[in-house]
Structures are given as C-alpha cells and as structure tokens.
C-alpha cells in the first residue's frame, strides 16, 4: 500500500492553546480511517489541518503518493448556510465537480451525469431545482454529501457525515462510502461519533482524546483503554 497522507508531530492551536499535540500517523491509499473523540477533542481541527484550511503550529502534514488537493472530496461539519443565497441544489452538487475540470470553464455532460448520480445516491435528486437555503437540515446535509462525493477522486474527508441524517439515509451513506472505498479504492477519512459504525467499517481508528491520541486497527481499539471507555459505556455494547 502506498502512503497517501503523513502527519508528523502536527500540533494545532488556537490563540496559543494547543488542541492537538504532536499527532503522528500515516494514512495509506485505500484505507478507511475513522476519527473519533470527545466533543472539542480537535477532530474538526485535524481535518482542517489535513485539508490545508488551518496551518499547524508545529510539525507538518504532508501529501504523499502524488495526492493532489483537487482529488479530495470534503464534507464540512458545519456549512455556513446562507439562508437567502440563491443556490440551486444542482448548482451546489455540480460545484463539487469543479476541481476535476482543470481550465475548462463550463460543466460538460460527464460532470452533469456525475452530479445526478451523486444526488441520486443521497436520495435528493428530486430536489434538484429547489433552493439550497430552503431545504431541511437533513436534506442540506445530503446535498453537501453529494457535493463531496462529486469532488472525491482519491480521498474523501467527511466530518460527521451521518449527523442529521435519518436512519435509512445513514445506512445508505455507509454503504455508499464502503462501495467507494472497496470498489473504487478511494481512501476515506471520516470523523464520527458512531463507534459502532467505526468498528464495523473502518480499518484504522484514530481516537483523539484530550491531547493524547490512539491510532490503530478497530481490534486494537476495542481492546484499548480509550475504546473501553467509549465503547464500554455504549448502549448497544
């Protein structure tokens, strides 16, 4: 397996306070990595670091194996929803295709087909002419997921993808992501609070907890102290 992402002693801080201290891990091509941890443990911060939206205060995060930014798909945790923004659902999904277009100014048939496919996968193709700002919370989430799917060529980064989704949508999302990972070899990095799903689908788990991090396979995680703490208290365990 090729390396795709190398995180070397990356420290992230806000106003001088470190939230992630010297995180070290390497993600390999084709992996399915779940990131968990308490609220405020720095998961979204790490994701932003991986995507270059936030600079590490120390250490670094490097892309390897020729990974380029425009091969990445991303679902933010909170999208700044602009209520009155005249953005059609199809326009939003299509904007995920932009990173594959190079210098071509307009969308072509393939882009439109891809957007349609992704919207259908998320079950919101029927909303394609609606305005994004009018949708329900879950519908907006689904559209943004469709956009993320459109833009993911080698790496898909999802920050709490199932939050706000109904159970059947969550199930379908997990299936879709699994399919992308297994069939198309797209590497997945997913922040989630759904430990069950993480243990079921992931082949690597990164658990950030108050500064120190766990990194390993689901089996190792289940056996570990952090895993016990989280999973042990879990209702379905």
């Amino acid at each position: 397996m090729r390396e795709l992402l190398i995180c070397k002693g990356a420290t992230f801080s806000y106003e001088g306070m470190a939230v992630i201290k010297e995180a070290d891990f390497t993600a390999f091509e084709g992996e399915y990595l779940c990131v968990t941890g308490e609220n405020g443990s720095g998961k979204s911060t790490l994701i932003k670091g991986i995507l270059g939206l936030k600079q590490p205060a120390a250490g670094k995060i490097e892309y390897a194996g020729g990974l380029k930014k425009r091969e990445i798909g991303y679902l933010p945790q909170q999208a700044a929803v602009k209520k009155d923004f005249p953005a059609g659902v199809l326009e939003v999904a299509l904007s995920g295709c932009l990173n594959g277009m190079g210098l071509r100014p307009f969308y072509n048939k393939a882009d439109k087909e891809r957007a349609r496919e992704c919207l259908e996968l998320m079950g919101v193709y029927r909303l394609k002419n609606r305005s994004f700002g009018e949708l329900s919370g879950g519908e907006q989430r689904r559209v943004l997921l469709a956009r993320a799917l459109c833009s993911a060529k080698r790496l898909l980064v999802l920050d709490e993808p199932v939050s706000g989704l109904d159970p059947s949508a969550s199930r379908e999302l997990y299936d879709t992501v699994k399919m992308l990972n297994e069939d198309r070899g797209i590497t997945i990095i997913m922040v989630t609070h759904d430990i069950d799903a993480a243990l079921t689908y992931a082949n690597k788990i990164l658990c950030l907890d108050c500064g120190k991090a766990f990194y390993g396979t689901p089996e190792e995680f289940s056996a570990s102290h952090e895993g016990k703490k989280l999973y042990g208290g879990h209702r379905h365990a």
């Binding site: 995507l51 270059g52 939206l53 380029k68 930014k69 425009r70 091969e71 990445i72 798909g73 991303y74 933010p76 999208a79 700044a80 602009k82 009155d84 923004f85 005249p86 953005a87 059609g88 199809l90 326009e91 939003v92 299509l94 904007s95 995920g96 932009l98 990173n99 100014p105 307009f106 969308y107 002419n129 609606r130 305005s131 956009r147 833009s151 980064v157």
Partner: protein
Amino acid sequence: MPDILRMFSYPFMARAFAAGVAVALASSLLGVSLVLKRYSMIGDGLSHVSFGCLAIAAALNWSPLAVSLPVVTASAFLLLRLNESKRVYGDAAIALISTASLAVGVIVVSLTTGMNVDVYNYMFGSILSITQTDMILSIVIAVIVCGVFALLFHRIFAVTFDEPFSKATGLNTDVYNTLFALLTAVTIVVGMRLVGALLISGIIIFPPLAAMRVAKTFRKATVLSAIISVICFFAGLTMSFALNLPAGASVVALNAAVFIIMFAAGLISSAVMKRKV
C-alpha cells in the same frame, strides 16, 4: 412618437446608450455576488474614499485623478479581500474605510488653504457627458468583465457559496477572489467616473436584489439581474429624455420601482399560495 426617436440623432445620447448599457451589464453581473457578500454599500463607500483622495490631491497640488484612481481602486480591492480573513464584516469594512476617508478629507481640507475643485464635480460623473474615448473604455471594460465573469461563473459561485470547501478541494480560491476583486474595483471606479456614484450604486444593488426575490438559483439570479438592469437603463434614459428628468436618477428610480414591484409580487404570491392551501 417621433420625438423620442429623435433622441438617437444626438451623438451624446447614442454614446450614453452604448456606454450605459455596457456599464449596466457589467455592474449588475458583479452585483449579485457583491450583495451576497454584503457589499451593497460599496459604491457609496468608495465615493467617500474618493472625496478623501481629492482633498489630499488638492493639498499636495497633485492631479486629482492621479491620486484618486489608484487609491480608490486599491481601497475597493482591499475591501473585497478583507472579507476573506473573515475578521471584519463586509459592510463594517465599508463603513470603516468610508467614514475614515471622510474624516481625513475634512481634516485635510481644513489644514490646507482649500481646494481647487468642487469635489462633487469629480465624484458625480454624468452619463450624458461621456466622450467617445470614455464610451470605448466602458465597452471594453464591459466586454472584459462579462467575458471573464462568464468563464469564471461556476467558480465564482463556488467561492461565494462556500469558500472553505472550494479551497479544501483544490480550487485556487485566491486567484478567483483576486480576479473578482479586480473586476469589481475597475468596474466601480471607472463606472463612478463615467456615470456617477449614484447610478453605479443603484445598478449594483437594485437589479440583483430584484432578481433574488424570484430566482432560486445563482444562474437565474445573475441572468435576471443583467436583464433587469439593461432594460431599466434603456427605459430610464428614454424617460429622462421624454420627461426632461435627470438621467442617472431616472434610471435608478426605475430600478427601484422594478424592485418594489418584484417585492410586492413576491409577498402577494406567497399570500395567495397560503390561502390556496
């Protein structure tokens, strides 16, 4: 009405129509993003900046345009780029820069013996006194703005709608933001000089806001905004000729009327819808 057709026989009217349509098109296209980014007052704010520039130019005995053109363009650019650091709201940034410019202008005027020019002359252009060169300039700018805008249309949408996503997925948001700021700065500054601050401000806000009343997608909003703007410009200038009204103000008033109609239509239609259910 042969009288109205007669208006095209005046070269200055022909120039006004040509330059005005060009400016109306360019500003209304950019206007949609400007309104969404909370830069509605940018025209007004920049006219105050140019007052400050004129005061300083007069004090230093420099050519007013030599000072104001670069400084106002730079301010417009700065304003639009400030937003990205997300540390200051767009409208607050405009208020800051414009109020500070006014204060500096007033102080400079009082420190020097005075000015050589009536500032209003420099701030208020008139669509009717456009020269051949100005007309060509505005058409060239409009063609460039429309061309670049069309080519970057989807990218401008993506960056305006969700910049972090665009950046994360490898779009060069800096380039697009810079290009957009550049187009806007040039359009507003040149437009203000040629057709006046009032008309430019009016075209930047009314057509996009009117279009956004009814359009649900960015593309529809942009296209509708351009259409409204061009039609209102044509009708406004004709009205100015027919009824002997001020040219720029007529165009703006007509734009405002269209906005009010759209607004009312939106309210009524939603009220009717409600009753139907």
